[in-house]
Subunit: 566 residues, 2 copies
């Protein structure tokens, strides 16, 4: 029973040396990858860089205990960092104690929401974040994040969490460009892009083993950081106007619970919910994809609890909201992680780095971290989704375009909210005007087809209408209008047969409409019949007096209906 909610009690009993070896190797590789990213994403969130390291320690241990994925690597990620900055930036100024503690409260709220959603099995709520919305949102976030880092890369100050403000503030300060900063940033950018795209093939070409080449690619960003620190020390970059990370407190974070004021909780509840949903959707899709490769199964509700525990741990350990990262989870999987213990070992690695590395960080130019972020997030931007959606359906294109556009112009929260509302509205609109077809018999068969598409036989006194959608409040009156219109066009009609094989449900409003249709047709001397009604729908109709009041009959098949009425 307890093991159901705490998976470590299950897999922990079968833990062995082989698995330890695989987990430890994966942990080393992920640790190396995570160090520069943690520092950079904390800056993106408007927090001191060490907070990124803190958010990569306790949360990973909590997820190892409560999480169910053997591949997912949690920690700070770019999109959630941007969302944190947008949410907290409205309440406090960057660099203040209020700002940091608001980020902690945000993590606690999001963690609590995730756990509650998991315990009450409400993970399906995340399904309302449709694929077009999440794709448009992630691309727009990537563009905003990359733009937000241009300031640090050029050595000028910029601010804002959406494009208009960001671009304006960059433009206004464009004369402040610091050429040393630009040189450091550009060099880092070139180095990081080269590590990502060219290093592996060049190493393989000179005979390095594939494993070593892959390790070099993973370790590359850390090497860039170390080189930059060395260059900063040698050339005294800080004195030349290059912004450095500055003094970072050495050692592990203190454990504490945040001060919760009701005002703060109310102000952060909305953003926390959006972060919760976005973080969960991103995590669960990567976790499920990687689980399938191992023929394992992910329990979405347990994942909610695991991610919730990670965020609560982030709050206790002076961090900020975390979630499962796509790139690092793939790396974790490829490196052979066998159990969630790999995450706990990564946490140990980051803890050691936090103690050892922090003295050197003071000299690190911020432009290097900006370059790290830009290279990481540009892979999120995939505008081909617009073309793909346009090819597929206008409704999906509209959802992508609205989410992308509103996110870019107005920021992450309005963007994702309007995307969700738009995709629900589009779905409701589509189902409110269902496809209907007047049908006739294909000669010599028992099949009935659309009169507009096929050569079929129709009796002049019978109208047969097929409805290709469940009937519910939003389309009930549409059906009333459709039948009234068809009957008005053909005065000779004596029978209307509603063909129902695609009607999976009829709600009370639709029942009311059917009763109104029945009554109005009866007033005109026309009988209403149903055919091919599904079992569950028929069960429900039997609970009412509709079938008694129906002027016509219910036929098992359309063929029987026509045979009898002709």
């Amino acid at each position: 029973m307890l093991a159901r909610y705490i998976p470590i009690l299950d897999w922990g009993r079968h833990y062995n040396r082989d698995r330890f070896g695989r987990d430890a190797v994966a942990a080393i590789i992920v640790t190396i990858m995570l160090i520069p990213q943690s520092l950079a994403y904390a800056l993106l969130a408007g927090l001191p860089p060490e907070v990124g390291l803190y958010a990569s320690i306790l949360p990973l241990i909590a997820y190892a205990i409560f999480g169910s994925s053997t591949s997912l690597a949690v920690g700070p990620v770019a999109v959630v960092s941007l969302m944190t900055a947008a949410a907290v930036g409205r309440l406090a100024a960057e660099g203040t104690a209020d700002y940091a503690s608001a980020a902690i409260v945000l993590a606690l709220l999001s963690g609590g929401m995730l756990v509650v959603l998991g315990l009450f099995k409400l993970g399906f709520l995340a399904n309302f974040l449709s694929h077009p919305v999440i794709a448009g949102f992630i691309s727009a976030s990537g563009i905003i994040i990359a733009t937000s880092q241009l300031g640090a890369l050029l050595g000028i100050s910029s601010h804002g969490h959406a494009m208009p403000e960001l671009v304006t503030s960059l433009w206004v300060h464009i004369d402040q460009i610091n050429l040393y900063t630009l040189a450091v940033g550009a060099a880092s950018l070139v180095a990081l892009v080269w590590i990502r795209t060219g290093l592996k093939s060049q190493l393989l070409a000179i005979g390095v083993s594939p494993a070593a080449a892959i390790f070099a690619v993973r370790a590359g960003p850390v090497a860039v950081v170390l080189v930059a620190i060395a260059a900063s020390a040698i050339f005294g970059l800080g004195d030349k106007g290059v912004a450095l990370v500055g003094d970072v407190p050495q050692g592990l974070p203190m454990l504490s619970l945040p001060n919760l004021s009701l005002d703060l909780v109310l102000a952060l509840a909305g953003p926390a919910f959006i972060i919760t949903v976005v973080g969960f959707v991103e995590s669960i899709s990567v976790a499920q994809t990687l689980a399938a490769k191992k023929r394992e199964r992910i329990d979405p509700d347990q994942e909610l609890i695991g991610l919730g525990a990670a965020n609560i741990a982030a709050a206790i350990g002076s961090g900020y909201p975390v979630t499962g990262g796509f790139a690092r989870s793939v790396v974790n999987h490829d490196a052979g992680a066998a159990t969630p213990a790999a995450g706990a070992f990564t946490a140990v690695g980051i803890a050691i780095a936090t103690i050892v590395l922090t003295p050197f960080l003071a000299l690190l130019p911020k432009a290097v971290l900006a370059a790290t972020i830009i290279v990481a997030v540009l892979s999120l931007v995939d505008l081909s989704i617009l073309k793909k959606a346009l090819n597929y359906a206008r409704a999906d294109f509209a959802a992508v375009a609205i989410t992308l556009g509103v996110t870019l112009v107005a920021g992450v929260e309005p963007g994702i909210s309007s995307g969700i509302i738009a995709s629900i509205a589009i779905f409701l609109y589509r189902t409110s005007r269902p496809h209907t077809a007047v049908v006739g018999r294909v000669p010599g068969t028992e099949h009935f087809r659309n009169v507009l598409r096929h050569e079929v036989e129709v009796a002049p006194h019978i109208l047969s209408l097929r409805v290709d959608e469940s009937l519910y409040f939003a389309n009930a009156r549409f059906l009333e209008d459709r039948i009234a219109g068809l009957v008005a066009e053909q005065p000779g009609i004596r029978h209307v047969v509603l063909m129902c094989p695609a009607i999976n449900a009829i709600d009370m409003s639709a029942l009311e409409s059917l009763e109104a249709i029945n009554m109005r047709l009866a007033d005109q001397g026309i009988d209403l019949h149903l055919s091919e009604v599904k079992g569950p729908v028929m069960d429900r109709l039997r609970h009412t007096d509709f079938l008694e009041r129906l002027s016509g009959k219910v036929f098992l098949s359309q063929h029987q209906a026509i045979a009898e009425l002709e």
Copy 2:
């Protein structure tokens, strides 16, 4: 072309003496019915009684020009009067000039919205007001309205537009009961109930003709008003603490356009939209029912324009929001109204009454009007909808109960909003967990049925799953989980066949899920096949590369699929 938007240009050309006679008789009967109701509903809306008469003149003429129903009688109605009081009461104190002009702006806004909805053919938006929501809302409004009139009936002051405030204010002032007022109110109530329930059969019993008996029932409320005015004059009720209507300006309203301030428009836009939707839904359903009796057809978009013109006319003529009334439309229809001209003649009748009657109104006790309202609205209260909904489906019951409860406790706007949101949420929830069935072949046939309900044959290496719902973002991941679960349970599976006859659409999120399912199954060495895919769905899939990437095939029928895979 012009006649399409101005129906009078069409029916006006065929107008003749016979139709004039029928319309005139109907107009006389509706006028007599409308006089006390107009006065009473204006008081309910917190406005001077003459405003109710004003709202029954110009709007009726405008509807006669632009409306398409030959039976609908527009004017002030109880529910919209309550909604007006709730909306305007937040902005100004009753009895002030600001209050009256806010009600005028509300009518103008609602009229403008109706016309815009009509011109852009957006009448389908009203469909989102489901039957359970409107039923719960109307019943709750009836209870609130009846309660709000108890104060006037007892001679005590009360206020509020929802039950907690109303009941509290009645309770606090219970010691102020005026026995004269109570006597007038109770006598009126008894008289009105008797006119409605007993008068007709008693008149018939003493040999009065049915037509005369029905006329007596219609004229009864006006007789009660006249008797009350006489009693008030004879006994000097005003001096005994009975609240009287007081001086009413004689003559017709001045025509004017309201002063529009942006603040006022913004404050009233939300309530105006809700009044628009509620008023339209109530009107269209009675108009359609009465039209069917005459084998006529109502154009919902033209009805929007007609009701919009009526409300704009209400604003110009110093009135307040109007809509089609149920009871008076039925009376109009029964009395033989042949064209919308009956409404214009009613307007003439009310205009004459406004000039002739106003001097006498000063002496009318308000308790009589309160009794008129109570008798009229109690027929709106129908709590049997709760039982009916519970019998039919829990989802519909929840929608009724939420709307009813929230309206009673928090008022009309929160009530109807939460009802709409709840019914949409319930619909989305239901479609997000579609019915699915593992199917097998009924022995000796080509039919496939649910393995849980029927004795069927299943091949151990084939999983056939039928999904009884269109696939879209909210249920796409549900399908991923369902298939992953089924495959994990049965390790011998080599083929998964998705049987799609009830899938009317697949959106881009669902396509993404199908691609993920296909890829994950392929990782496990399992082929994914589809069967019985509908034409429009297949057309859309052909626009993508999904069919090329599909590890299995698309079969025309489930029988073919099993025959080939076995």
